[in-house]
């Protein structure tokens, strides 16, 4: 997995139609999330990602901060 910064997030979304995934619990997502992101909590990622994400598009995962 590649670590990226804010500018690269914006570029991937704008140029490569990246999928934004917040991996925190649903309650955290409800309180605040990046516009356009979907919520797949970390413990559910392996199970839900193949169903809910498109393989040919880049994926960007994030949480609160440097955790």
């Amino acid at each position: 997995m590649r670590s990226i910064d804010r500018d690269e997030v914006r570029r991937l979304i704008a140029d490569e139609d990246a999928q934004l995934v917040e991996v925190l619990p649903a309650e955290d997502f409800e309180e605040e999330h990046i516009v356009g992101a979907i919520n797949i909590p970390l413990k559910e990622l392996d199970e839900r990602a193949p169903r809910e994400l498109e393989r040919e598009r880049p994926v960007i995962v994030y949480c609160n901060d440097y955790q």
Binding site: E8, E31, E32, A49, Y62, N64, D65
Partner: protein, 142 residues
């Protein structure tokens, strides 16, 4: 995960929000500093002559000017008193260095409360790394 191109935005949503980028949710204030800041506040640099800046600011119908460097990092502010002075000095000599700043993601209600408590009539809005976003007037929040 089985996907080829997976990226980790390490700094996370706190970083995103603190730069005034679009975020939403039950705890995100309805109006943010980013939404109301005047992005067209006049700017100047340290080695300009005050007189030259005064003319430009007056022509733009402003009474404040933010001093920035080439990277748009805020260094100071020229307030009404400085802009009304007839001293033949540089911007660096006339400015108030290191003005108080807020981040774009602060809610306007919290910001107004802070302005009242600190008896401030305006605030400079910057990103976490100090780059100018805009200028907010307390009168417009009251």
């Amino acid at each position: 995960m089985g996907f080829l191109r997976v990226n980790d935005y390490v700094a996370g949503k706190k970083d995103w929000g603190s730069y005034g980028l679009p975020h939403e949710g039950t705890k995100v204030p309805e109006r943010l500093a980013e939404d109301v800041a005047h992005k067209d506040v006049p700017t100047c640099v340290l080695d300009e002559r005050l007189a030259d800046v005064q003319e430009r600011v007056r022509a733009a119908h402003w009474d404040a000017c933010i001093v920035v460097n080439e990277g748009r990092v805020v260094l100071g502010r020229l307030d009404r008193k400085a802009l009304g002075s007839d001293a033949d000095v540089s911007v660096e000599e006339a400015m108030t260095p290191g003005p108080s700043t807020v981040r774009p993601s602060i809610g306007t209600e919290d910001l107004l409360k802070r302005m009242r408590e600190r008896k401030l009539s305006s605030y400079v809005v910057t990103t976490p790394d100090g780059r100018l976003v805009g200028h907010i007037l307390r009168d417009e929040l009251e």
